[in-house]
Each structure stands twice: as C-alpha cells, then as structure tokens.
Amino acid sequence: MTPLMKSWAPPLALLALAIALSFLMPFNLAFLTRILIMVVLVLSLDLVLGYAGIATLGQAAMYGAGAYAAGLFAIHVWADPLAGLMIGAVAGSILAFVSGLVLMRTQGLTLIMLTIAVAAICHEIANKARDITGGADGLRGIHMEPVLGMFAFDFVGTTGFWYALAVVVVIFVFVALITRAPFGLSLRGIHESPDRMAAIGVSVYWRRVTAYTVGGAIAGVAGALSAQITQLVSLESFSFTLSAEALIMLILGGTGRLYGAVLGTLIFMFVHHWAAANDPFNWLFVIGAMVLAVVFFLPKGIISASAGLARLIKGARHAGS
C-alpha cells in the first residue's frame, strides 16, 4: 500500500460503510441521519477537546445557537438549506468567539464549569424569549426548500440522509486539513505543553480562542442540520445531556483522533438504538456497561483496540520466544 492509498483508505472505507448502511437499512434513514448529525457535533468537540485540549461540557451551546439561528432564518428570511447551514455556522462561531474570549482565560475545572454555564444561560434565554423561540413548546414552522433547488426533503428521509452525509464529508475533510496544517499542529503542542508553546513564541490564548471558534462553527452546522431535518428546534438542543453524550461518544471512540470521533458516535448510537429497541425499559444498563468496559480496557478509546491487539499478540510472541 502506498502512503497515499493508506491515508485515503480509512475515510473511503467509512464513506462506503455509510452508503452501504443506507442500502442495508432503507427504513431507518432517519436514524442514520441522526448519527451523521451527531458525528458533526462530536467532530467539533474532538477539535476543541481532543486536539486543542480545551476541556468543555458545553458544546451544546453552539449546537443550539446554530439550530435556533438556522430555524429562525428559515422561517423569517430564506428557507434555503445551504444558506441555513452558513447562518448556523456563523451563529455558532460568534457565540464561541464571544464566550471564548472569557473562557479561554481559564483552565481545568473553572473552564468546565463556565462552559456549562454558557449553555445554561443560552437555555434560559431561549426559554424566556418565548415569542421568538417558542419556549418549551419548541420552535415550529420550519419548512425547508429543496437542497440546491433540486432535492426536496421527503417522508422517508432519503434527501435528509444524503444531504447530511455530504455535510459530514465536507466537515471531516475540513477538520482533517486543519489538524494537519501548522495551526492544528500548534494546537497539539498547546495541548501537550502550553508553557513550551508560549516559550517558542506562540500566542496560546489566541490559538485557543480560534480553535474554540472554529469548533463552535462546526457545532453550529450540526445544530442547523438538525433544525432543518427535524423541522423543529427545542430547548433540549442546549441541554447538558447533549454535551455530555457527545463527550461520552468521543471518549468511547478515542479523543484526538478523527476516526475515533466517527467510530465512537457510530458505536454509541447503534448500541443505544439496538438496546433501546430490544428492551425499551432497561437499555441504559447496556450503555453503562459498554462505557465502563471501554474506559477500563481501552482507556484511549475503541480506536486504539487494533493497536492494543497487535501489541498483545506481539507481546505474547515475545514472551514465547
């Protein structure tokens, strides 16, 4: 395998998997679409937390901002999906930038608490501004125009699925490029040792603000997608549960690895779906057991399973010789 083929093989395999799933589960496109939306959100979290090392439990703030912005834009201005995605990205990045100016001055537990607070404040604003957001009833009346003027959103969810898949591909490539660019490498450096990065002349604060803003934009896109496909935005898009679930998916897959984010989301959502469908009353137990197992046996996430296995086999050989 040439290096070029090697770097292209995993993303193409994932894409093939997504397409295969859409044919294998033609009746579950809505579910697959929800996975894709979560992938976008978890990728944004991966950039912020996995690469830049910004500990956050409030990624839902930007997701919700994107969702409400895209929803309101579609209702009052223009119902074009792509324009809505842009608005979602802008809303997410503005919120991330403004809050990031303060948040990035803090670290550790303080930072985590403040990110939760930002999401909670957004939740409360959306709750209070009932006339604009619909409050607890949710924002209704979103009717999207066809994607690119050609593909109308349909009942089965075919358009929604392909549309979301296209967005995931674009976002994935975008994040992959960022993390390979000097900017991404400097984020890694900051993650490893902020002091050393500061010593070699990097403005740690502004790099972190930028990373948080870019992550916010991506989370905003995820929110916008969900608003357009569900045709409803609820207060829950700002919920702590959403931030926490995204974090669990990321940890499950492996932080700081793009495939980890994708894999973690895929596995979490499938196990959730399968367990909840088979036993709608006790399925949480299965999820809990899975998360525990991964944290104990694969602390670096499921993505590290193959490497771990390889090491195990090698080690066994070594011991035997």
Binding site: F27, N28, L29, A30, F31, T33, R34, I37, N127, R130, G135, A136, D137, G138, R140, P146, A152, F153, D154, F155, V156, G157, S226, T230, Q231, L232, V233, S234, L235, E236, T241, A276, A277, P280, F281, N282, W283, L284
Partner: protein
C-alpha cells in the same frame, strides 16, 4: 416531488393492507419515555394499555391489535421524529400513541399529516398541538381545561384576590395565564404573579411574599415530584392555611406522589380531571385489574390518559381498521364512560370534553391512605385554550 413521494408512499402503505373488511393485524406505535427521569410516564402508559387489553382482549372488530413501544427518553423532538419515521416506514404502524412532552408531539405533526396516521396523545397538554395536524386526538387534558374552571370556582366560593406562583417554564406560564384570564374575567383580582425558577429548592421567599400580600387564594403550578413536597411543606410551615390563604392547584396532589406528601397535603384543594378515588364502577374495575396485573401500580392521570387512549384506538380500529382519515372521522363525537367519568371526543378541538372535579386531600377512613376526595364537579368542560 415531495407530494408525489408522499402519495406514492401512502399508496404503498395502503396497498399492503387492502380494504377494511379483511381482518388484519393493526399495529400501534407507542412513543414515550421508558428510561431516565421521566420513565414513570412510560411505565404508567404501558400498565394502562396492558390493563385495557386484559379487560377487552387483543381484537377490536375483525382486527387484531399489537402495540410496539419505543423509548424517547425525555423531551427530545429529534428522537421522537426519527422513532415515528421508523415506526411508520419500517414497522408500518397504523396508529401512533403516547407523547408526554409538547415538542415531541409537535415534531411528528408533519409526518402524520403525510402518512394520515391517527395519533392519540396520552399526556402532552398544550392546546395548540392539535392545530398542528388533523390526525391528533387527545385523551388527556389541556392546562386551560383544568385551570380556568378552578379560577371560576374559587371566585364563586367567595375568593376575590389571588397570587399565582408557577414554575418558570412553558406549562407553568400557560397555567398562570389561564388562571389570571379566568379569575379576572369573573371579577377577581390577581395581586401578584410570581415565577419560580425550575431548579428552586427553597420556596420560603416566595411563600413569605405571598403571605405578606395576604390574598384569599394562592394558585400554584409545579412539575411533579420533589418540588411539590418542598412547596407544600413550606406552605404549611409558614401558616398560610391558618391565615386563610387557600391553596389551589391542579396536578400537585396526583396519586403516584400523594402518599409521599404525607399529612402536609391534608386539606389541599385542586381541580383536575381524574382522581383515583372517583366513585364509579368503571374506575373500580380499572383499578382492580391494574393492581391484579401489577401489584405495585398506582393509577393516576397518566394511566387514565393512556387507558382512554387505548379505548379510543380500539373504537377507531373497530370502525375503520387501518384507514386513517375514516378512523379519525369515526372518533369525532364519540362518547364513552371512562374511569374518570363521562367523556366526549370534541369534533372541533379533538381533545376530550370531560368533567373537572374540585377535590380536597383527605385521609381515607377505610384504607388509611391519602385520597383526592371529589367535592364538586364542573361538568363537561372542553378545551378552553383552543381559541387563545
């Protein structure tokens, strides 16, 4: 394009089940929370459905009925919509039911419009849901339906001033508006409207402020569970009852939590559509069967909403099988005797018209348990919030 697709889909679904005369298996998809903090709703629904099935068998008319349960977790419209899509497309259900939270119901409105699926709401109490689709039918209640009669009753009892204390979220604000509108329409005066944050654990400042204003009545709306315990305790400790400030509520004394409230709850007056102590044959039969199947079960408004919803589905299936529009048509104006009292499905609002009872918490002499004793009836109340 969109229309062609939906027409094709409806055709595909209906062609799979030709004609209503043939016996078929009718599937009902139940979307409700079965896990997490709201799992009690799903449990109450499921027990009530199984009680109804145990009493009436698995067939309605010529058709067999089968229920499929899906866990939505909590207020989560994305999940609600995708579960509904899965039920409609993969499982090909003919009816949907459940729906505890308003956004979850709203999220499926565009779907059921296209697939013409009758959808029975067991709980979600915002009036405007039913305007989202012609296929929504509601066997629970709306906030206006119970709150406005309470305000009018309070005025008729001689109360002229009131303070409202509601939890600051959607349903609380609806309840506040409904109470104020109805109370002031009668000529009463709302002195103050206090909104308490959802996470309040200490109600003393709010209750103190009410006490200083010394109104005739204190209307309150709280989400079930812990806040109700603390609130009623604070109400008693501050001696509001002794000062003649009457407690007026709705779901605060519901049966599942009632025993936990203890003696603090004695004397609390509420207006609601179902009391476990309702004295009728239908209620006795319902409760007996429920306890026979599930010894720990307690019937409350959520169970009775699901029980009547199941009855409605059976009636629609018997009349129209899987023909959605015909089923809804057959349900409009339907009358039956429910464990809560007589019901009529209002053809206009598609929410049941029912009696609202004024109750007071008492300790039952025979069982030693707290009960909501019915003291008065406001007969046949429709959805008063429909035109708001």
């Amino acid at each position: 394009m969109k229309q062609i697709f939906s027409v094709a889909l409806v055709a595909a679904i209906t062609s799979a089940v030709p004609g209503v005369a043939l016996a078929e298996t009718i599937k009902v998809g139940v979307i409700a929370p079965f896990s997490g903090p709201f799992a009690i709703y799903g449990k109450q629904y499921q027990q009530a459905i199984e009680t109804y099935v145990a009493q009436n068998g698995t067939s309605a008319g010529d058709h067999e009925i089968e229920f499929i349960y899906k866990d939505v977790g909590g207020p989560n419209p994305d999940q609600s919509r995708s579960l509904a899509q899965e039920l409609l497309i993969r499982d090909q259900v003919d009816y949907l039911a459940g729906f505890t939270f308003t956004p979850n119901a709203f999220a499926v409105a565009p779907l059921i419009e296209q697939s013409q699926t009758p959808t029975v709401i067991f709980n979600a109490a915002t009036s405007s849901i039913n305007s989202g689709s012609e296929f929504f039918l509601r066997t629970s209640y709306t906030l206006w339906q119970v709150t406005a009669p309470l305000a009018e009753w309070a005025y008729d009892q001689g109360m002229r001033t009131a303070v409202t204390t509601v939890t600051d979220y959607g349903p609380g604000i609806d309840a506040e508006k409904a109470f104020k509108a109805a109370f002031e329409a009668k000529g009463g005066q709302v002195l103050d409207q206090i909104r308490m944050p959802l996470s309040t654990t200490d109600f003393t400042p709010f209750i103190q402020s009410v006490r200083e204003q010394s109104p005739d009545a204190l209307f309150t709306f709280l989400p079930g569970g812990p806040p109700t315990f603390t609130y009623t305790k604070t109400y008693n400790e501050n001696g509001l009852a002794a000062e003649g400030i009457k407690f007026l509520g709705t779901a605060e004394t519901e049966e599942v939590n009632l025993q936990g409230l203890g003696d603090e709850a004695l004397g609390l007056s509420t207006a609601y559509h179902y009391s476990g102590a309702h004295d009728s044959e239908a209620n006795a039969a319902f409760k007996a069967k429920l306890v026979e199947l599930f010894p720990d079960a307690v019937a409350n408004w959520a169970s009775v909403g699901a029980y009547d919803g199941t009855h409605l589905i059976y009636q629609m299936v018997a009349a129209a099988g899987s023909d959605g529009p015909a089923a809804v048509k057959s349900a409009l104006g339907l009358e039956w005797e429910s464990p809560r009292g007589p019901l009529t499905m209002d053809p206009e609002t598609r929410t049941v018209i029912q009696n609202v009872y004024i109750r007071e918490v008492e300790r039952d002499a025979d069982s030693g348990l707290l009960v909501n004793r019915e003291k008065g009836v406001i007969a046949t109340v429709g959805d008063l919030g429909w035109d708001q």
